[in-house]
Each structure stands twice: as structure tokens, then as C-alpha cells.
Symmetry: C2
Subunit: 300 residues, 2 copies
């Protein structure tokens, strides 16, 4: 059973135990554009205490550079290399694990964050924010030419999702037998200001259903994301804690990587899912209402 933290002593003991703090962002540090009360203070306290802070987000709509700007606005100085996003991890996977040849391309269902990270990794792409694919005009196969250099379809959150994008991706996945099917992440929803919205997993769901095959998921809980971090940062898993709002991504990710886990209730997971009559089989080590609770710890 998860330990429910509430006293200053609980938080003090938690902070003492872990040297590296990995944070999910949406639903933990902020909800849409609204910061979670006290979140920035807590990050500053951890920094002040000499803790290493890493941000691990499945949100692929923004690149790490754009994410940094979000922190800047909220008044917290972070470095781009402290941020690990599923768009970045996908680009790294395509270039270094899949080793997509330089003359091949990725067909993107997704937003500028994916495009920016692919460009940084030197991976060519089509689709994405291309105006020709961002249309509600009827899609016709007679006007479509299969680009035989497309070696992968990469699908992430895309708030301009439409029939043309889905149809083209479907053609690539079914007419080129070696075309890989990748997803930045498969979160079904994500916490936004004022409620919950459709997530990246729901954007790749039509393709998975039509093709009859699940995509290879890069973001949490997949190990690919942790591999990406481990390639850049040396940390002791036993002294590391993953903080997240979602059991089947954040908490599972931490557990599979041998990290401690702290669930916060400011995002997707509701308390009833861990304490109710049919609790999730994924049990975090610790639970607290909000990351802001850690303000109970002094800066000293």
C-alpha cells in the first residue's frame, strides 16, 4: 500500500532520501498554463538542497526548447538538457536505435515539437504542420502519391488531427511492409486547464485499429525514455524518485526503472483509484495531494 504523506516530517524524510528527482510536468507542475500552487517553490527548495532535478514529459507537442520557455515564464530557470520529452526521445530513437538511413523520411502526425526535435537529430520528415496535410478538404487516393522514402510513421498529440493525415499514415503503414509504426506516447488523455482532453494515445488509436497493430511507444512507461536519460545523466536508481500524476505512465515508468515513485493527485489519477474498492494494481511508494505539499520542507 502506498504511504500517504502529510506531516512536515514525512516530507523532510522523503527529501532526505532521494538525490535525483524526476518530474512529470502536465498535471504535476502545471495544469495547462496554470502552475500548480507551490510547484515552483518546491523545485527551488530541491535545487537549494542540492538535489538534481530532471523533467520527464510525454508531452510531444513542444520541443525541449519550447518547454524551457514555459519554465522561464513560470520563473524557474532550467536547462534544456534537464528536460526529456517524448518528442526528443522519439527523434533519438529513430536516429540512433532504428538508424533510419539519411535518405529516408518520417511521416509525422504531430505538432511543431516533434518537427523541431527531428530536425535537431537530423531526421527528415513530411506531414506534421505542412499546410497541405492540415486541411478538412476531402482526401482522395487518386490525388495521393506514396512517397517510397517514408520509413516510419511517428504519431504524437496533434490537435489538428484530420482524415487526410490519418489516411496518408494508413497508406504508408499498409503499402510499405517495412514502414515502422511509432508513437511518442500512448496517454489516452491529458490534464488541461478546466478538465481533461484527448491525448496522444487517442490520436494513434484510429491507425492502430485500422492497421491491426499497436505502435511502438517511446515515451513513459517505455524503457526507451529512461535509456535516453541514462545515456546523458549518471544517477543511482536507489536514490532517485519519479513524481507523476498518472499510474500507467509515470508510476509504472519509475517502477520499471527501479526508481521510487510519488503520486500526486493534481492530474489524471483520482484518490479513489488507489484507495477505492477496486484499486489499480500499480501502487506508488508514496502519495501526496499536490507537489506543493513539499513546501513543508524548509530550504535548509
Amino acid at each position: 500500500m502506498a504511504a500517504r504523506l502529510s506531516s512536515a516530517q514525512d516530507y523532510e524524510s522523503l527529501v532526505d532520501q532521494y538525490d535525483t528527482w524526476m518530474f512529470d510536468c502536465d498535471g504535476v507542475l502545471w495544469q495547462g498554463s496554470n502552475p500548480v500552487d507551490g510547484a515552483m517553490d518546491v523545485l527551488q527548495i530541491l535545487r537549494h538542497r542540492g538535489k538534481r532535478v530532471i523533467f520527464v514529459t510525454n508531452n510531444a507537442s513542444q520541443s525541449r526548447k519550447s518547454y524551457k520557455k514555459k519554465f522561464d515564464k513560470l520563473g524557474l530557470e532550467v536547462h534544456v538538457d534537464e528536460i526529456y520529452g517524448s518528442a526528443y526521445a522519439s527523434a533519438v530513437y529513430i536516429s540512433t536505435v532504428m538508424k533510419l538511413p539519411k535518405d529516408k523520411k518520417v511521416f509525422v502526425i504531430g505538432m511543431s515539437g516533434i518537427e523541431e526535435e527531428l530536425t535537431e537529430e537530423g531526421v527528415s520528415y513530411i506531414g506534421g504542420t505542412d499546410p497541405a496535410d492540415n486541411t478538412l478538404e476531402p482526401f482522395s487516393l487518386s490525388n495521393f502519391t506514396l512517397d517510397t522514402s517514408v520509413g516510419a510513421v511517428l504519431c504524437g498529440l496533434d490537435t489538428s488531427i484530420n482524415y487526410t493525415k490519418l489516411s496518408k499514415a494508413y497508406q504508408y503503414l499498409t503499402r510499405n511492409p517495412v514502414c515502422e509504426f511509432l508513437a511518442t506516447n500512448t496517454d489516452s488523455t491529458y490534464p488541461a486547464a478546466g478538465g481533461t482532453l484527448i491525448g496522444a494515445g487517442s490520436i494513434s488509436a484510429p491507425l492502430a485499429f485500422a492497421v491491426g497493430k499497436e505502435p511502438l511507444c517511446i515515451g513513459k512507461p517505455a524503457k526507451t525514455m529512461l535509456d535516453c536519460i541514462q545515456a546523458k545523466v549518471h544517477f543511482d536508481p536507489k536514490k532517485t524518485i519519479m513524481v507523476g500524476d498518472r499510474l500507467n505512465t509515470d508510476i509504472l515508468f519509475g517502477q520499471q526503472g527501479g526508481l521510487a515513485t510519488l503520486l500526486v493527485l493534481t492530474g489524471i489519477t483520482k484518490e479513489i483509484e488507489i484507495t477505492g474498492p477496486s484499486p489499480s494494481p500499480i501502487v506508488p511508494d508514496y502519495v501526496t495531494a499536490s507537489i506543493g505539499d513539499l513546501r513543508a520542507v524548509g530550504k535548509q
Copy 2:
């Protein structure tokens, strides 16, 4: 094992055996706007022989009236009441089985075919082809007001699918605990001119994934569709044959209704799926390459 028909005698014997012929349309009678070679001749031969002909389509993008126009263009006179579409069956289900109160509405993800059939059945709706929902502009919860009169989300093929439609449907399904989740049909793909395109099942897939619940499917293979036909037409299942191109909709539909089944290979199902090393568990009674093969039967 399915009987493979090839000789004039095979076809003659088949036509003799069955009095009522139910036809799927896309992939059987036509592919997109191209008629299957000989299909119209065969329908005329069957009519000439005194057979009852019924058209049973999962295609919800058009109403029965629009479907009739398609037959008109191809030179075959059909009556609207010989056509049973999943949009029509959905409208009948909502008004007569679900008995949606007159002051309640349906939120539609779909095209004009669904709207026309709902209107014919006196069911109010929002969404669908409303220009406000046919947009790629960003969707924001702060600009969205939940219409508390929405009692069902009905999802069909929608080639203008977009994030606003999906997000609104998701809000209705998750914020109103008694809102029903219906799908006209759950075909993952459909046969179009020049290839295969994403079908209605792939349009409802994001919602099913995000909500964590499958929709109630109205079209084939569901019994709702047969109930709709039986309410209007008296036929002897033992003297009735269902002709289709898809095992998990058409053929299953026929089998579950106690009808004989004939698979044609001009649509989704490929021969390898029934004769290959890992054949489908759904085995039609008969198989022929194309409905046009029945021209071997004379008019007499």
C-alpha cells in the same frame, strides 16, 4: 470449409435455393464510384427471377435517399425501403429502442447521411456538419459549454474528423454519466476506388480509447440491423442469403441471423484469409471472386 463457386451450374443452383438476397454495397456492388463489373446485370437477373433484393450497408455517410441516387446513376431502379443503412438503423434505434426523450439531443460525429436519417426519425442533434465543429482551430475547454440535453454521442464515418469534434464528444461521454456511446458501425476500413481507406470504427477508436469503453455498435454484425429489416420485411432466414466482402461484418451478420452467406473477393477480404495457413474462424458458406460471376445464370 466454404464452397468455391465457379461453374454455371454452381450459380444456377445457388440462385434456385434462395428467395431473398441481402447485399452489402461497398466492395460488393461498387468500389467507391466504380461499379463492380456485372453487378448491375446480376441484380437485374435476380429481380427478373422474382427474387427479393435488399441492400444492407454499414456506410453511414449517406442516407437511404442518397443511396437510392447512387443506384439511379448506375442504372438500377431501387426503392428507398429496399435499402437498410447503419445511419437509418441508428436513428431507428435511438427513437424506438433507446426512446431518447424529445427534449434530448444526439451529438453527432458523422456526415449528412446520419443527420438526414435522424431528422426523418424526429431525433434532434448537434455537431455533425455544423461549421462550428468542422474546424482545425484550436479547441479550448474555456470556450466550451456542456449542453446538458445531449443524451447520446453517435459516431460514424466522418471524413471531416478533427480534434474539436473528438474533444466535445469526450466531454459529453465523461461529464454526463448517462450519455450513451453509439457507433453506426465499427468497420476499421472500407474499400474505396484505388485502395482502402479509414472506416467508421477507426473514427470512434480515439473516443473508445480515451473513455475506456467500446461504443454500442448498430450496424453489421450487430443484430440491431437485422431487427430493423425484420420489422419491415417478412423473409424466411432459411431461404435468405447475405452477400458481402467482409468476414467480421457481413458474413458474421448473416451467420448470426441464421442466413446463408456468400463471400465475394472484390472488397476487403482477400482469398488468403479463407484459404491461407491461418484462415479466419468466420467461414462463409460460399465464395466467389465477384458478384459479376452470377451472370453465368440466365434470366430465365
